[in-house]
């Protein structure tokens, strides 16, 4: 094994380990002798899943009160690293809180951070990270040259999450030093914008719409088609920015990474920002007026046509099948 110890930041989703962190734990146990999870809040509920995916210990920084995870988790890890009890590498999921943790940890420990990682391998006594650049047309490999631990921020769905026959991780507490002003942001309330049907990043079928829909009302076609295929409705950044649909639908670099059996891109040209989030779908269908649209370069089936003509007919055909 290339490394002795890896820390994996465990993001929480409804008091379970978030899928992206299970993926990182699985990868970490392949690369290091010891894997430890770092989280916040009640760790007992996460110990079984963290353990089965490779962590021997799950450290929690404790109850955050109404604070955000970034400052506390980063400060706790930085204190351990400064005291010489740090790992050889820190894996962080590229989530909202993950990026906050990685950024603060980097500045606190004066160590660089590599983000947008889609692959990791051993090489020359350290880790080599893979990054998809220019919309995934090229693969860049990079490594850290400074003192350990390097901070690796990894995109969701880069690895498969696989449990092993291991018991629950031991729960331990990691002390948080005084945060001072940096910990001053307070969460007042949380709001859920859930849509019906399967979740975007778990659905077998994803139907996404873009600017080609013409106006906000056009998104109904996307929702109708998604429902008929028992899938989830996604969106390009352009129409989220335009306020047509909530951010929770966004697929791409700044949105969700999806890997469904079928991805249907409707009126989406295929900007780099979008392709990064969906190009690993098993099958891609694209409908776009512009024959030159980049999305066609990765489509298994491309229909050069107007979504306003193709989608209503497709919806009707599927309805008739019952």
């Amino acid at each position: 094994m290339a490394l002795n110890k890896i820390w994996v930041v465990v993001d929480r989703a409804n008091d379970k380990v978030a899928p992206a962190s299970l993926e990182l734990l699985t990868k970490a146990r392949e690369l290091a002798g010891t894997v430890e999870a770092i989280t916040w809040g009640d760790a007992a509920a996460l110990a079984a899943d963290a353990g089965s995916h490779g962590a021997t210990t799950i450290h929690t920084v404790g109850d955050l009160g109404s604070g955000l995870p970034g400052p506390a988790v980063a400060a706790a890890m930085a204190a351990q690293i400064a005291a010489g009890s740090g790992p050889d590498a820190v894996f962080v999921p590229q989530s909202y809180d993950g990026r906050d943790i990685a950024g603060r940890l980097s500045a606190k420990t004066d160590r660089p951070v590599l983000t947008n990682i889609v692959g990791l391998e051993e090489g020359d006594g350290g880790l080599i990270s893979e990054h998809a650049i220019f919309g995934g047309t090229e693969v860049l490999k990079a490594r850290f040259t400074g003192s350990a631990p390097g901070i690796f921020v990894v995109r969701a769905k880069s690895f498969a999450a696989e449990p092993a026959a291991a018991g629950p991780a031991a729960v331990a507490t990691m002390e948080v030093p005084e945060l001072g002003t940096s910990g001053g942001a307070i969460v007042l309330s949380s709001h859920v914008e859930e849509s019906e049907g399967p979740k975007l990043d778990e659905a077998a079928v994803v139907v996404s719409g873009g600017r080609g829909l013409g106006e906000a009302g056009g998104y109904k076609l996307i929702e109708d088609l998604a429902k008929l295929l028992k899938g989830a409705a996604g969106a390009s950044r352009a129409i989220v920015d335009a306020g047509w649909v909530p951010y929770s639908h966004q697929v791409g670099q700044t949105g969700k990474t999806v890997k469904p059996t079928v991805y249907i891109a409707c009126g989406i040209s295929g900007a780099t920002q979008h392709m990064v989030g969906m190009k690993n779908s098993k099958n891609i269908i694209a409908i776009n007026k512009d024959q030159e649209a980049p999305i066609f370069s990765i489509a298994d089936l491309g229909i050069v046509g107007d979504v306003h003509k193709v989608l209503p007919k497709l919806i009707e055909a599927l309805q008739q099948r019952g």
Partner: protein
């Protein structure tokens, strides 16, 4: 209220990106423009300063060769002045090195609020603003999709996986804003003319008191090992819709046993 907006001047994203074959970093040749992601932060800063009834927006940027064309766009929108860190030693800086330089420049402006985009369009590392906040000892709220300020506190709707959180933080603070937080104004002719005369304070790394060893490719604690073409996805069937496009899709879905 005084606001600093971090802005990046980037090559036109419509032109395909390129890597320098020897350094394997993004090439920055040709005319640079204001990163569109940053226009939202500039607009947000202008609106908050206007609402506070006083104060101004200062731009902070780092660019090679004293490049100001992107800064002029933001000045034309209404920013009062700019601090531009331009120094040959900065070439090849990683996100942490850049954060150290920007933090030192921001300190000069002594702002109540620092605004940045969630990530740049060309590099999209997405950690720089939080690194800056940590260096300056500021609290931060990232991924803000709605921002108001009252009684010395910033109130933010922050995107989450499931929806959004309402987050409050006392000034001084740093926030990152998403595209779409506000609609950026187009510079007026008057604004464009006025921008030509607005002060751009050009400083070097030494002026800021940042160690030369902390920046540039020498200060970067990471290196590119290789760049290779990705395994190309097999090209599929592209057909022009002649009124039967939907039938092709139905047949494809049947073949995949999705329906």
């Amino acid at each position: 209220m005084n606001v600093v907006v971090c802005v990046k001047q980037i090559p036109d994203p419509a032109a395909p990106g390129k890597l320098d074959p020897s350094t394997k970093t993004l090439t920055r040749e040709g005319k640079l423009i204001l990163d569109e992601s940053d226009s939202y932060g500039v607009e947000m800063g202008l609106q908050l300063a206007e609402q506070a009834g006083g104060g101004e927006v200062t731009l902070v940027s780092m660019a090679p060769n004293g490049e100001t064309s992107g800064l002029r766009t933001a000045l034309a929108m209404g920013a009062a002045k700019a601090i531009l860190v331009s120094d040959p030693s900065l070439a090849g800086s990683d996100a942490l090195g850049t954060a150290k330089v920007l933090a030192a420049a921001i300190k000069r402006a002594q702002p109540d609020l620092v605004i940045a985009a969630t990530e740049s369009t060309d590099g999209y590392t997405g950690t720089l603003p939080v690194q800056v906040a940590e260096i300056l000892g500021l609290p931060s709220v990232t991924f803000s999709k709605k921002v108001t300020v009252s009684e010395g506190k910033v109130h933010v709707e922050r995107q989450t996986e499931a929806g959004y959180d309402e987050v409050e933080v006392a000034l001084p603070a740093l926030i990152t804003v998403t595209a779409g937080v506000v609609e950026p104004r187009y510079p007026s002719f008057k604004g464009i003319m006025a921008a030509k005369g607005k002060p751009v304070d050009e400083v070097t790394v030494a002026d800021l008191g940042v160690a030369a060893s902390a920046v540039g490719s020498a200060g970067a604690g990471q290196e590119v090992v290789s760049v290779q073409p990705a395994e190309a996805r097999q090209g599929g069937e592209i057909v022009v819709d002649e009124g039967d496009g939907h039938e092709k899709i139905v047949a494809f879905l049947e073949q995949l046993k999705v329906i």
